[in-house]
Amino acid sequence: MTKVLSIASFNLLRMFRERANLFFVLVFPLLIVFVIGSQFADDDDAPDVAVAGTGAFVDRSVERLEDTGAASVQRVDSSAELRDLVEDRDVVLGVAVPDDAEDALRGGAGVELTVMLGPGDGSTQVEGVVMRAFEAEAVAADVTGYLLTLTDAAADDIGEVVERTVAAGAPVEINRVLAGGADPDDEPLGIDQVAIGILLLMTFLNALTGASALIQSRQYGVSRRMVATPTSLRLIVVGEGAGRWGVGMFQAVYIMATTAVLFGVSWGNIPAAVVLLAVFAAVAAGAAMLVGAVMHNDEQAAGITVMVGLGLGALGGSMLPLDLFSGTMRTVANITPHAWANEAFVELSRRGGTLVDILPQLGVLAAFAVVLMSLAAWRLRLTLTRP
């Protein structure tokens, strides 16, 4: 055990001697959480939508739309201005409403709203919500116009009746509630989810860069010398791995602490979270050892590190929450340790879970770690004992 500790502490020392590493471990993850978090934590995170047109109908529709919280609305004077905003991507979507829209509807004629969509998928995602607001506010005018086609009564009279009826009836209300009884508007989502994703992504990626340390050890013949000492090969892999694990744990705990203090991220049950991190960091260290045992030089290891680190992160829900994955992709995601750790963290931070609740995920992660370490030891034995 003391041997493992001495190899591990030596590795930590080597790691912190390089100043660029310090930046990578300490400053960089915070910057990312800040950059992404600032997009979520903003109250004004709803997509920007612009509306051109005047009159009561437009006023009511805009008010309704803003009440949904799904878009933040900007009013502009002309449809040309609207077009510019959409073209320049200052807003994701613009709606141009003819000035006489409500009167036209009341008169039984159709009205054409021009929906200007910005490039990309953001515009189609918000389009439905925006149009429903307009449709909802057009109900009275729609009905007036329809009735006009059925009777010879004066338009004004019909309008008056409809207005009176609207005033008399109470509109349908929608009661939203979360399963379990919580208020959906109090959802502590956003930055927590981002922080979990970044925590896992960075911890894994950074531990993985340790692969180059193993390669260097191999190149300098240090590992071979260690083989010559009365130290078993498995112990060396565990020891080198422990170095990476130490670095990974250090960074993970650091990210947890700083994001909790700086951005108010809640990590749930702290002891359980630390155990979870410890196991996850062990998986990352195992992966680093495997890459270090298989790859021949630093540059190749760097390529693999970036590919594996970012790829697994993306696949495991570090960039897009797992809850938004399609069914198939959600199943595929389970091949990554990130997905399991992600799921466990959500259990802890969102549902107030404890260590017992995340035992299944911990078990899977531990299996990942053992398999990766064993593969690494096997590969390393092949490499080191060959002349």
């Binding site: 390089e18 990578f24 960089f28 950059v35 600032s38 991507r89 200052d90 509807l105 159709g110 009205v111 054409e112 709203l113 929906v115 200007m116 969509l117 910005g118 490039p119 990309g120 998928d121 189609t124 439905g128 429903r132 449709e135 909802a136 109900v139 729609d142 009905v143 116009g145 329809y146 009735l147 059925l150 019909i158 008399a168 109470a170 509109p171 349908v172 929608i174 009661n175 939203r176 509630v177 979360l178 399963a179 379990g180 959906p184 959802e187 030089n297 630093d298 540059e299 760097a302 390529g303 970036v306 590919m307 790829g311 993306a314 696949l315 897009l320 809850d323 938004l324 994955f325 969102r350």
Partner: protein, 383 residues
Amino acid sequence: MSAVVTITAKDLKERLRDKSFFLLGILTPLVLAFVLDLVMGDLGEGQLEVDIAVVDADGSVVSSQLRAGIAGLDGEGGLEVTVLDADADPDAVIDADGYDAVIVIPDDFGDRVTADGGSAPELGLVENPDRPVQAGVAESIVVGFTTNIERARLLARAADELGLDVAPVPPATGIELDRVWPGGEGLDTGARMMAGMAVMFVFFTVQFGVTTLLDEKKSGTLTRLLAAPIRRDSITAAKGAVSFLLGVLATMILMVTGTLLMGADWGPWLGVSALVVSAVLTAVALMAIVAGIAKTSEGASAAQAIIAVGLAMLGGSWFPVSGEGLMGLLAKMTPHYWFLNGLEDLTDATTWTVVGRPVLAMAVIAVVAGVPAAVLLRRRLRP
């Protein structure tokens, strides 16, 4: 000039012989773009899978129409709708079957809708706390049906008051939509991811060229280059040229692969080339600054990796960024932002000249970074 060509050719031979160029410059971005497209592509194409259940505790005419209307959406655009028993417990079924949301029609719904006055009809929407986005889709669907109900209800009452007979099927809204894309439809998610990865990884690729200057120092060959009858500037020029050529090569391969494998339509290739060339130039200039400051090739690689990922994140390689606010300002200082926006414009454009503004912006970044880079690198030319 011939010295620049000779050194460039030698460096290219070395780099292409080394597998890391293909690994980091081409394979890695391809794999990542593919993974990101798998993960995010579905969402982008409106294929978010939403699993909704309906509980009709009412059984009235109104509620049956509503229930049938919602059930009719089953199978459309990633929606899955299940009609549950009238006495199902929404909390329990969400927990057991993992529905994203359960729409509950209470037992007095029909009565309240048809009643004259009285209290407001209510619809329940029980949301799965783990699935806020999907629940949002369910809510949007309920809102749409509510508008229809309101229209039908208003029509029935007003007609009644006017003494008119109306058909039980409510009219549709008189609002028609004219959907236009003034700035074009832009890139789809897969193509955007591909472009984002391409511009991010060009920063990794160009460092192969720039950091060879540090390698030459380590291998001692810099001394020989300095002793040779060639101008010293031709050494730095060659290093820049190598970076540039490798960068353009890797990026163009990725862009072509995007067309072949993902069916990406980038627009006129002349415009794509202009964007690629200027993005690579900025990448060379920025990475050359790092190589000019760093002491060892390893130190430079580490710093360059940080800068590459950091700029990519700011500039929109990972997720789209708007050009507004502080973040927008930062984004506009990265070549990534201009490269990606240039591509968005280009894809629907008829002429390649639409990339003029992004190309100009990148040229400015390249010059601002390139001048100090050249000065710093020149100071590296010591035996």
